[in-house]
Structures are given as structure tokens and as C-alpha cells.
Amino acid sequence: MTSINWARYASPASFFPLAGQLARWFGVAAAVLVVAGLWIGLVVAPTDAQQGEAYRIIFIHVPAAWMSMFLYAVMAGWCAVSLTLNARLSAMMAQALAPTGALFTVIALWSGSLWGRPAWGTYWAWDARMTSELILLFLYFGYMALRHAIDDPRRADRASAVLALVGVVNLPIIYFSVKWWNTLHQGASVSLTSAPKMAATMLAGMLVMAFAAWFYSIAVTLTRVRAVILERERRAAWVGQLAGAQ
């Protein structure tokens, strides 16, 4: 039996080709899942008795909103590792996750706004869930702006990691906002502790889209982290050789 030395992949030089392989497979899986998810959500799933067709926005809105929070948690996790272990690659992973997290936050806010108009009669309200999700977007932007403002990458790693970790407090606020404040946004449609409050087809479509968003995030983040590795380790001897590698 051969054992794999996982610690080896903590070095950017060995991680670079592995990330390329993984990105390709996760990208293919995401493409297959998004086709299946859109088919279920936009064709197979029946019209909602109360909301008509507008409810179909759920198939992009909920997966994007989940991913916006999940990616922040993962990003903050890598920030914690990079602060405590002073690991280069962890900071690069956090750096690579932020733009995709911000992207899903924008999609969640945009699709939610377009759903709010037919469902509630307004594109926007200063509801607790919406406001805390908007703050999440500002946290992503703040993290990226702070990184951008500091020239020394190692100092940028530390400063932006602290910001990301402080911002973690916003995640439970987003998640529990619909319970803590009784404002416009509806409660959770899916919970681990109770039966889902929706038809099986709708749930299936939403979960397939959620996995598509997850695999897409992995693929695009791994591709971005490869670029970040090359940008930051430019002067290391291995980079010139690996730059041409798939």
C-alpha cells in the first residue's frame, strides 16, 4: 500500500499541477449538474400554487445565497490557518475565494430583488436578511480592497485575514436573521431538523443547483489560485518550469 504525503500539497509548487487537474474535473461536473438543475427547475418542476412561475427564481437564489455564506466561512477558515500557521498557500486560497464569494453574493441579492418585486411588491426593503446579506457583500469588497491597498503580499495576508475573521460575526446574523427579526424575508425552506416545506421535485432542483454552484466554486477558485501562485511566486525557480504545465 502506498501512502500519500498530504503535507507535500501545502507547498505551492506541488499544489499547482494538482489544482489544475482538480479544476478540470470539478468544472466538468459543475457543467453537467447545472444543465440537470436548470432542466429540473425551469422545465420539470410544476408551477407553484401561490406564486405561479416567479418562484422559479428559487433555483438560482437559494443556491447562490448558500454559496455566498459558505464561501465566506471557507475563506475565513483559510485566513485563520494562514494567521496561525503562517502558511503561504492558505492565504492564497483565501485570496482566490473572495471574488467568487462576492459574485454569489451579488447573484443572491440581484435574484432576490427580482423575486421580491412579484412576491412582495418591492425590489428592496431594509429587511434584516437583505441588509445582512448586503453587509456580506461589503465584507467581501472590503477584504479585496484591503488586499489591493497593501503592496507587501505577506502584510496584505495578515491584515485582510483579520478583517475576514472579524466579519465572520455576520454569518450567524444572516442565517438567523429570519428568526431573530420578524421582517419581510421568509424563513428557511430547508432545514436539517425538519421535513422540507416544498415538493420533492423543487427540493431536488434546488439541491442539484446547489451542488453545481459548489463544484463551480471549487473549479474557478482552484484556477484562480493557480494564477495567484504564479503571480506571487514569480521569482521562485520552479515557477518558470511549471508555468507551461497543464
Binding site: G52, A54, W110, E231, V239
Partner: protein, 51 residues
């Protein structure tokens, strides 16, 4: 149901396609941007190697 009826989404076509369309657009832009960034980083790294 006709194709036109399908795209009308019961009068909610603007909202449904606006939501999915923007998501598709942003994701397409991200894929193109990330690929371009990796390509540029590869070329820059090769340049350093030649010095």
C-alpha cells in the same frame, strides 16, 4: 404550451429571466476573467525565467 408562453413565465418572464440571465452573464464573465488571469500569469512567469 407554446414556446412564447413558456418564455412569458405567466407574466413573470422579466423577473425569472432577469435573475437567471444576470447569473449566467456574471458567471461567464468570471470564467473568462479567471482564464485570462491565469494565461497572463503564465506568460509573466515565463518572462521572468528568461531573464
Amino acid at each position: 404550451m407554446s414556446l412564447a408562453e413558456y418564455f412569458a413565465m405567466g407574466g413573470n418572464g422579466f423577473y425569472v429571466w432577469g435573475a437567471f440571465g444576470m447569473a449566467a452573464l456574471l458567471i461567464a464573465v468570471e470564467i473568462i476573467a479567471v482564464r485570462a488571469r491565469l494565461k497572463a500569469a503564465r506568460e509573466a512567469a515565463r518572462g521572468e525565467d528568461d531573464r
